[in-house]
């Protein structure tokens, strides 16, 4: 392993030791585990009622699609990434510990890379894991029927799509909020701006729609959720971006943001607001 790889591995190891499943991230774990508890509760209730009022597998699939669109993408992963990634630099500035990194012979670009990978590992573990577990739990009360749906029906492909979208969301939002943590003293301000922009996406003109993360992610989801009335009249339709453009496009966009963050980090100074 060359020096750069060893240094990035050193940062990754240190960041994971400091932050992975640490107590101060409790609210991020809550965001990730919320749907798991919800789907677990749903399963237990369905078992408890012995199938009375049982709904169809298709309905559960639609419920999960709604949960994924409106909770995971717009709330859980979004704010989870705000909490994880914007604190990678800003949190250390507030705790006055960033200088320890700045006093190692580590190129700042590599520090950004190492911290991003550590944040990404945490985000993927929490949100991709949560998505997969929730998906597996939501139809569990159908027993062998749900197993068959996953193994021999469209279930596995849907699960794969949701996992991929959740991972891409972590990658994209992670890059956005890592950058905001370097540039802004209060990362909640850019987070609020990005959130408003992302949620306005269905109502934006086609050109503006494409300057967002949610537009690409939404098109990759296996089940589409229409905007309910009366808001649906304001929706402006745009041609969905094909898979082969959406996925590399998001990865390239994230890479550009990371490179820009790395170059900007070169010029940052240690000033703990004194």
């Amino acid at each position: 392993m060359n020096l750069w790889m060893r240094q990035i591995a050193g940062v990754l190891r240190l960041e994971m030791k400091k932050t992975f499943l640490s107590r101060r991230g409790w609210w991020v774990y809550f965001l990730a585990l919320g749907p798991v508890f919800l789907t677990l509760g749903h399963w237990l209730i369905e078992i408890g009622t012995h199938g009375s009022g049982r709904h169809s597998l298709g309905e559960d699939s639609l419920v999960f699609a709604g949960l994924f669109h409106f909770y995971y993408l717009r709330l859980g992963i979004f704010f989870g990434c705000v909490g994880i990634f914007s604190n990678l630099f800003r949190g250390e500035m507030l705790e006055k510990t960033l200088h320890y990194y700045y006093l190692t012979p580590l190129r700042r670009e590599l520090l950004v890379a190492g911290k991003y990978l550590a944040g990404l590992a945490t985000a993927l573990f929490l949100f991709v894991g949560s998505t997969a577990v929730s998906f597996l739990l939501i139809g569990r009360h159908f027993g062998a029927g749900y197993t068959d749906y996953i193994l021999h029906g469209p279930g596995l492909s849907q699960l794969g799509s949701y996992v991929l979208v959740a991972a891409l969301a972590c990658i994209g939002y992670g890059a956005v909020f890592l950058m905001s943590g370097i540039f802004f003293r209060n990362p909640m301000i850019p987070a609020a701006v990005v959130m408003v922009w992302e949620n306005l996406n269905p109502f934006l003109p086609t050109v503006l729609k494409k300057i967002s993360v949610i537009f690409y992610l939404k098109n990759l989801c296996p089940v589409e959720i229409p905007i309910p009335p009366p808001f649906n009249v304001m929706v402006i339709d745009a041609d969905p971006t094909p898979f082969w453009i959406a996925v590399p496009g998001l990865l390239v966009l994230s890479l550009i943001l990371l490179i820009y963050s790395g170059l900007s980090a070169r010029h940052t100074e240690i000033s703990y607001g004194e």
Partner: protein, 314 residues
Amino acid sequence: MSDNLITFANISRFYGEVLGVNKVSLAIPPGVTSLVGPNGSGKTTLMNLMTGLIRPSQGEIRVLGMSTEDPAHLCRAVGYCAQFDTYPKGLTGYQFIYSFLRVFGMSHEECDQRTMAALETVGLCDARNRAVAAYSKGMRQRVKLAQATAHEPQVLVLDEPLNGLDPLARAEAIALFEKWGKMGRHVIVSSHILHEVDRISDQVILLSQGYVVAEGQIQSVRGEVKDQPMQILVRCDHPSQLAAQLFQENHLVEAKIHTDGHGLLLRTTDADGFYLLLNRIVIDSGLVVESVAPADDDVNSVYQYLIGGEGSTI
């Protein structure tokens, strides 16, 4: 430009409208160098500049020939024990030192060996597996010192390194600084415990309000303060007789008999002339002189002379 010096070439640093340091030009040789000045005089700014944590608004800094803009090279040669009493959360003393050594790119074995050696140097081997957050202030200061020195830097920058240490640990730390200085390393120290650091300093840099007021070996700096008569303490058996004879020369400004009756504290405008005169008096009168020593060539006195009232805050 020498590769064995830390050089500041006309360095200024402003924090917005506020002056950090202004027009500083220095060439710091190996050995122990003390930065002396009251709060806000620019000591920490100078230290942050030479370790690359902040950039100068103008001018150029070279550390052993390296630019401070290049952390990949600079930080292998520099160790900085900063003033902040803050530590990454959730790490033990061992993990704190070991983990940052891994960021240097060293192997596990080398990091482990250096970590243990650094912990041993500061006497924290037994406490290595306790969380740094659970350490006393003195232990935290020591683990910070160990972390800054674990990679054996050629340049060691220490901002108030004696804070929180008990007298024994302080003496050990000072002995360590002296040892590193004698090994040919640069040891740059700022401390308000002047009389202790003063003893081991090869040179001092006196700062006031962002400007370098004086620099060099403390005796030379004292010698250049011409408008303040030199204080000399003479221990002898008949101080009053000595005083009477010394007053025959007009360069003697003041003489005070020591409270124990066996010494004379003198102020003279011509130290060289005084020493010649003292030799003559001793030979002629047969006085028994135990010792003759300058009484105000320490950092604190020099600072008081140069800066006046402000010096009392250091």
